[in-house]
Symmetry: C2
Subunit: 685 residues, 2 copies
């Protein structure tokens, strides 16, 4: 024991040492660059300046990499000792804060006099600017508009400005892997079981929350105007925008603990599903609000036409992104379907293709004017549903690991940047009244989302969402990466700056306090932990009535979809599912033969339908297949698509067996169930 | 058979269809963006312009992603049908060329009138520019200097300029993973067996090649001046620079075929080792040549001091980068060594740490003014040697797969960009005389590297480098990613533009002609194929004298190093190798106890020393371990580090068994050897 302790102590010491070393390294790097910068002021050679700038950029990026490294090392210690009060994202923020303080106060920033302000009487601001400095032409690219007051600061704070990333980096580089991973790892079984509720929370709830927060903040702003606490414009659209960005929840901290403690799977599914979808809703909602532009000079009056236009834009962008994401997902499935023979030997190519197709979804959506993040989300869901089945087992592992790693790095990068930016951002506007108002509004907005909707949903659900679940969902409404990315995207006006500062505080508070208090809250609400998803399953299976009621709740929503998917889409897009010849009416025989892959016939005996992470046991496979064959035999060569007897049971079975726990952070592995269902005999094709 | 053919035909059709679709998609995207751009010209809103620019960027990137996707799909078909005449990189170039032609000639580029040229009588070109357009401040960042003649073109070719990446992208984003992967996958056994020759080719050979090419090109340039074929300045330093950049070989195409055909391992090791190291030499050499700046006005005269300074810079930068790379590699090894207990459960963290540490090596080197690429190379070698042993088997797979994927994507991106840039680059200078001269010079430079050095090396080697091997090495001197990245880095002057255009042609020629002709060349030179690395091994083992001679050739070079590494470094940095208590003299007992991990004692029975990709069979482990224990027992608790009897045999065995084929492109798996060496009994610790 003593030896173990001393080993742990040694590790802690090593860690502290590393922390000091890497901090001092980053500071040294900054200092050197500065000194070199001072020496440079005399030279006017452009190339050297560009080199210097590159060196500085490297140093800045190095700071973040070291931050991430430190975070990872500390997480190890935490995980090793089972600390649960602070999640890795919270930790990343703390390290970010420390480095931010050092950059802000610890380092003397010399005045860089080489900035020049030019005055031109032209009325346009071109994207590319050619400047003729005494006969030599230099090319400049537009970075953005800055306010006049800011203009004089630019020269002063070169260093702090350097460490500030282009906000678009978050949207175009860091968010996509996070969102894709979320979509890719959506737990299908529990997700579908609670789909109605999840959609209600995500769509209706987010809109409610957005408008409640918007109204409350408008009240707050009006009050502030009365007592002269407001130094700039703050319109109703700004309030609504604020409502939209803080309505995106990100309970990754909470879910990690849920996963570890094995909390009730339905609660998990509700929270995860809601947070994944409401990110998409919030991002489209906020862009629609920005697009609300009434005609005429005063762009902040109410106008029905503009509102309708905004609403139409919301629908258009959302459905466009959705369609695009699903379409590219299906294209990938088709490609992998076509090349499956070739696939088997070249997993590298397979993974690369998967990665590229996902990324091109994002780019295509952005290029078409849709929202890339939303497209990527639905692409991820589609890929998990179809393409995943066509990948070889090695590639399934590879792609999962790749996206897991990208997600992990991107998430921790964003959170440590959040910590850093609290001190390095130049234009913070901390208004105590606004901040208090925002906290109250966020709380009430969340309440207005969860409680009324849960009440309404419980009217329809037989498997009620209990009040302690509701409290937990209320409590788990953390704000995270998406909220931050949306708020930092535009910090040009006074209103936006105030929003950004307030949003930062909301994120800090929710991640540290709500995230840290999850374990306490769970025990306080008497939510049982240590529930094995499969135990839970078999239990509800034995309690026949409850099981059936759960089924009833969700089945009507997507029975048609399920039948269509299982009978037509899966056979066309994947090598699992029944052969089309069995599902299409006999008149379509030749077409069915053409579309069905030879493998589907070959594989008939060992049909795969593994939408889960785990490869299903043979028993499960034959079971799923059994249904189809029975109906095939009974109905003479084809299953009637609508036949409620077979497909509904089939669906029920898939909900129960067809899917397994998806392990989010790689700590738990759920084994396939072990209840004894009779195996159906395999017919000859 | 007929069915198989029709299936293949269907696949080909699908592929062609996909090609057409994706090309038309990318063109459509471009067209739409253009149209939108035209509509936009009336509006002057900056934000919308920025959005437009973002959309255009997405479309540009999408073109490349689709290119990569197409390449991957076609590679599949090629691999599937065992086409060997065209490598994936060659294919990527062809697709790039096609898209380049379309962009250049197929798309009407509207004149973008929104560019403004400002004239200022200031003598500096600041990195950040604030422009006051009628009261509003806009921030611009410096992109670079452009020539006056170019200035008028800027407006015309916005579209083509858009598709042109910042050259630094290649150096800072795409090259590092390629180089790291090369270092990480250096075949240790064959590399060390031929280390002397490899170092000679890489260092001496590259310098010889650089100067030979430089001289020849200077002659060519002088001749061109005589016949008035030269439209600008071209100094001797430019010629040397050209020599340096085209001296970096990249035989990835050839090696892929070698790997597939199982060509002689020594030839493989010579070519691979040389190409990995000469990249590093070429990049430092070229930057030293650029830094050659004699005092006074005329910066192109010969001056001893400047030459010495350049030479000193070469040594300084190279050794600095080397030291930095090795240092961070060792730090990573130490970290993974310290946290190995915690590691086991969290492979995600392990992979993430590994990735971040490798990247921070690059950034740290760049921030310190060293060459990041060189640092990353040696970091990769160090990591493969030490850190790899501390990773859990799952993490070993994960990291290898991750870097493999990054390498694959980066390489194909660079090659398809090469194809594209032949048509989209704005300032090509194709000078037939210079091009012919360059081809001759490159050929002669390579010859002056290989043949004289091989002759000299053969004087010392008993296992001669035969003449057919020399011809093959001569033939395999392809130019690739590094040459391209170095030449595109600076295309400001006339000389550099001519170099860039010529370099492109050299890369195309060598990759297509030399790469495509590898199989023919192999059979023409009667180089035996289908040699199993291990067969080869056991054969040479049975031919005792030859085996011993090979050993003699390399052993003197690094016997001391090997002993030091095996007895001290490995035990300190990894959990493999003998415990320090066994290797340090008895007086250092307490220190040895402190530094040795408890695991080293625990693991004593099953000592791992797997520097290879494959997990060694138990027999191998006990064999390697056997040596150490025998000497431990014989010499009473410690092995004398210099004892030639034990360590040299140990070394010999490690050279023979301790390492296995590293599979580069995942097509071949070499099994552990199967010759019957008696197993040593395992002693109790």
């Amino acid at each position: 024991m003593a030896r173990k302790c001393s080993a742990a102590w040694r590790k802690t010491k090593t860690l502290l040492l590393l922390l000091l070393v890497s901090l001092s390294v980053s500071i040294c790097v900054c200092k050197t660059s500065e000194e070199q910068m001072e020496n440079m002021e005399n030279t006017i050679v452009t190339e050297k300046k560009a080199e210097e700038s590159h060196r500085q950029d490297s140093a800045d990026l190095l700071i973040f990499i070291l931050l991430l490294t430190l975070t990872i090392l500390t997480i190890w210690l935490f995980k090793h000792r089972r600390f649960r009060f602070l999640h890795e994202t919270g930790l990343a923020m703390i390290y970010g804060l420390i480095v931010g303080v050092i950059l802000r106060y610890g380092i003397h920033v010399p005045r860089d006099v080489s900035n020049v302000t030019l005055s031109c009487q032209v009325n346009v601001s071109p994207a590319t600017l050619l400047v003729n400095f005494s006969g030599k032409f230099y090319e400049y690219t537009l970075k953005g508009e800055i306010s006049a007051s800011e203009a004089k600061d630019v020269a002063d704070n070169e260093m702090l400005r350097k460490v500030t990333f282009d906000p678009e980096v978050f949207f175009n580089i860091l968010l996509p892997p996070i969102i894709f991973h979320a979509g890719y790892s959506l737990k299908r079984r529990h997700f579908f079981r609670n789909m109605g509720s999840i959609l209600a929370y995500a769509f209706l709830g987010t809109v409610i929350s957005c408008f409640v927060i918007g109204m409350l903040m408008y009240g707050c702003v009006v009050l502030m105007k009365q007592v002269s606490q407001l130094d700039g414009d703050f319109f109703f659209t700004d309030c609504l925008f604020f409502g939209a960005i803080v309505s995106a929840t990100d309970p990754v901290t909470v879910l990690a603990i849920f996963n570890e403690l094995q909390v009730d799977v339905d609660l998990y599914a509700l929270l995860f599903g809601e947070s994944v979808l409401n990110d998409a809703v919030a991002v489209v909602l906020s862009s629609s609000i920005v697009a609300y532009q009434p005609a005429g000079d005063n762009s902040h009056t109410f106008e029905v036409m503009a509102l309708l236009k905004s609403f139409g834009m919301f629908l258009g962008v959302f459905s466009g992104s959705f369609a695009l994401g699903v379409a590219t997902g299906i294209v990938t499935a088709l490609i992998s379907f076509t090349f499956i023979h070739v696939f088997l030997d070249f997993q590298l190519l397979e993974t690369a293709l998967f990665f590229l197709m996902s990324w091109s979804t994002f780019l295509l959506a952005e290029a078409c004017g849709f929202t890339g993040v939303v497209a990527v989300l639905f692409c991820g869901i589609t890929q998990a549903h179809y393409t995943y089945n066509n990948l070889s087992p090695e590639s399934q592992d590879r792609t999962k690991q790749l996206f897991e790693l990208l997600d992990f790095l991107a998430e921790n990068f964003i959170f440590s940047y959040m910590g850093l930016t609290l001190f390095t951002f130049q234009n913070h506007v901390f208004n105590p009244m606004f901040i208090v108002g925002a906290f109250v509004a966020v709380f009430l907005g969340r309440a207005a989302n969860i409680y009324p909707l849960s009440f309404l949903l419980n009217l329809g659900r037989r498997n009620k969402i209990r009040s302690n679940f509701q409290h937990m969902m209320m409590f788990a409404g953390l704000r995270g990466a998406m909220t931050f990315a949306l708020s930092i995207r535009d910090t040009a006006t006074y209103a936006r700056q105030m929003m950004f500062s307030t949003t930062l505080l909301i994120v800090f508070f929710t991640v540290w306090i709500c995230g840290g208090g999850t374990t306490q809250m769970l025990s306080c609400q008497h939510i049982r932990v240590g529930v094995d998803a499969d135990q839970d399953n078999s239990m509800s299976f034995s309690e026949g009535s409850e099981r059936r009621s759960t089924k009833q709740e969700s089945v009507w929503l997507f029975r048609i979809w399920y039948n269509f998917d299982h009978n037509y889409l899966k056979p066309i897009l994947t090598h699992s599912g029944p052969p089309l010849t069995a599902t299409l009416p006999p008149c379509c025989g030749p077409l069915a033969h053409f579309l069905t892959s030879p493998q589907a016939f070959e594989n008939e005996g060992e049909l795969k339908d593994d939408d889960s992470d785990l490869i299903l046991s043979d028993r499960d496979l034959s079971l799923t297949y059994g249904d189809v064959t029975i109906s095939t035999d009974a109905l003479g060569g084809h299953t009637t698509a609508g036949a409620p007897g077979s497909t509904s049971e089939d669906l029920d079975r898939e909900l129960t067996y067809g899917d397994h726990e998806l392990v989010m952070r790689g700590t738990r592995l759920v084994l396939p169930m072990d209840d004894s269902e009779p195996t159906f005999s395999r017919p000859s094709p």
